[in-house]
Amino acid sequence: MIQLDYFLLLSAFMFIVGTIGVLTRRNAIVVFMSIELMLNSANLTFVAYSSFFGDVVGQLFVFFVMAVAAAEVAVGLAIIIAIFRNKLTVNIDEINILKW
């Protein structure tokens, strides 16, 4: 049987990879994908604990996180399209009217 620890370890690893992606990548869309990776790793934690406890709350939280992620993606990509229209770039180092 699989230990709970392995699931948690996997999710911690994916969370860290996502964090590193956010900190190192310069393309706004890739940064956003890294954030999705972080959210998914959190979901894995929830589902693992939920099965472990036999408690449905964790899975319901994941359901809500998925809905929120969908909403965030819609708004985020709309913002990226708007910025692309004005400046024709999605590189966050080139977007620098305001001091970063």
Partner: protein, 486 residues
């Protein structure tokens, strides 16, 4: 689910439905959003109807919240609470939202964001804040926070043709979503250790658990995520850019309601474990964040030339003062934070209102030097702005002074005297950059170059904020008594 569970639920739902008038404001506001969408769709003059409709609805919610402040209860299977602090926060959100509408009626016309959707977004943001204020479960905190944040991302980028607004939206969005990732993962680890997501038990279960290291890390990640949302150092980097780039009326809501709502979530989460020894694990983290925020905000604000950036750094410093109250971890601290949150909201609403008035159509007149000589040309505006600056810098008898006073007293009560002293030093530093504007307005050389069109709606909003700042400063005791009842 077996039949007994469903029967239990049915009786709970019956109780919840019969208590409809207790949680009426949030349902009402949700209905108002839907009606506003219909108005925007079908009415040609929606841009003239919507602001007054929004103001009326928000003021009704604010009044109703105060009216039912003693009506405490928990509804919908322990998801949503009413009464007490919830209603006080709801009052701050809805009243602040109404003032923001007054400030932006004419502002959005001149700055090229004359869309009826602005008001729908504003209502949605306030709805999200009210969800947080009533939350009794981490799920509700999360959903409310996202409802508010997603709205703010849009409001920051509302000025679609202006590159600075786009950029502010992108920065806010990326860092906000990053913070959401931390919060969700933190809640996941907390859930694993506590076995529940109910606010009343999450923290205490974690501290009671034997091997609770994942839970503690979860709490820390939760804190890191919320430090992003309140803009505390070291997670503040988005604050100046977003506050500067976003349209001023959106900034006014983000800087007040947004920050208050994030603090509300922290207060609700920490409240059940107040005064217990176990909170000591987190206190040092909060204290360090508070110390860094106060000094960083106060010192960097001195170097700013743009008034919106200066107010942004001032809000970072203010997040620091409020974190002191949380770090103190006693009832006085919470009362002080709630008082200061209300005071801070109205002080900043007034200040941003005046900034929005002075700002010209092409986003000019935002430099601090533009306020040169305002005192002789527009004495009323200058006097009001001086009032807000005095209040922000913590000079009695205005509300800002008592907010800081209560927080520092709470810190001393729980043996954090060094933090209180640091707070006093930081506020002395901050007096410099607040009063610099006052000095410039009254004693600056040369004529004032700005020609603002002073409109009635904005002026009413600013004057109401000023009155609240004065009233809260003159009668701090009665406000604190109201808060400490709960």
């Amino acid at each position: 689910m077996d039949s007994t569970a469903i029967n239990n639920f049915n009786s709970d739902l019956a109780v919840s439905l019969s208590a409809f008038w207790s949680y009426f404001p949030i349902v009402f506001l949700a209905g108002v959003i839907l009606i506003s969408i219909a108005i925007e769709m079908y009415s040609k003059s929606s841009k003239k109807i919507l602001p007054w409709f929004t103001v009326t609805a928000l003021l009704a919610c604010a009044y109703y919240s105060l009216l039912t402040v003693t009506d405490t209860g928990v509804y919908f299977s322990g998801m949503f609470a009413t009464g007490g602090l919830t209603n006080i926060f709801n009052f701050i959100f809805t009243f602040g939202g109404a003032i923001v509408v007054l400030l932006s009626v004419d502002y959005i016309k001149k700055s090229g964001i004359y869309y009826g959707e602005f008001y729908i977004l504003l209502q949605s943001a306030v709805l999200g804040m009210m969800m947080i204020a009533g939350a009794k479960d981490m799920i509700m905190i999360f959903i409310g926070l996202e409802q508010m944040s997603i709205t703010f991302y849009v409001m920051a980028g509302l000025n679609r043709k202006r590159a600075s607004s786009n950029e502010a939206a992108l920065k806010y969005f990326l860092l906000g979503a990053f913070a959401t990732g931390f919060i969700v993962y933190g809640i996941g680890l907390m859930y694993g250790t506590a076995g529940t997501l109910n606010i009343d038990f999450v923290f205490s279960n974690i501290f009671a658990a034997e091997k609770n290291l994942p839970g503690i890390i979860g709490i820390l990640l939760f804190l890191v995520g919320f430090s992003f949302k309140i803009g505390a150092v070291p997670f503040h980097m988005w604050v100046p850019d977003v506050y500067q780039g976003a349209p001023t009326s959106s900034t006014a809501l983000m800087a007040t309601g947004g920050k208050v709502a994030a603090f509300t979530a922290l207060i609700l989460a920490f409240r059940p474990v107040l005064g217990t020894e176990t909170l000591a694990v987190i206190t040092p983290v909060l204290a360090v964040f508070a110390l860094l925020s106060m000094f960083y905000g106060s010192i960097v604000a001195i170097a700013q030339t743009d008034i919106k950036r200066m107010l942004a750094y001032s809000s970072i410093a203010n997040a620091g003062y409020m974190l002191i109250g949380l770090a103190a971890g006693n009832d006085y601290g919470i009362e002080g934070v709630v008082y200061y949150l209300a005071a801070y909201s109205f002080m900043n609403l007034g200040a941003f209102g005046i900034v929005a008035l002075i700002e010209s159509a092409d986003e000019k007149n935002l430099l601090i030097s533009d306020y040169n000589g305002l005192g002789t040309k527009y004495p009323v505006l200058a006097a009001l702005l001086s009032l807000f600056m005095f209040a922000l810098s913590g000079i009695p008898p205005f509300a800002g002074f008592f907010g800081k006073y209560y927080i520092f007293i709470a810190a001393i009560e729980s043996n954090l005297t060094w933090l209180a002293i640091a707070g006093v030093i930081a506020s002395v530093i901050s007096v410099y950059f607040y009063l610099r504007i006052v000095v410039l307005m009254y004693f600056g050389k040369g004529e004032s170059q700005v020609t603002p069109e002073i409109t009635n709606a904005s002026l009413i909003g600013i004057v109401i904020s000023a009155l609240l700042v004065i009233v809260m400063g003159v009668f701090p005791g009665s406000v604190i008594n109201l808060i400490s009842n709960f």
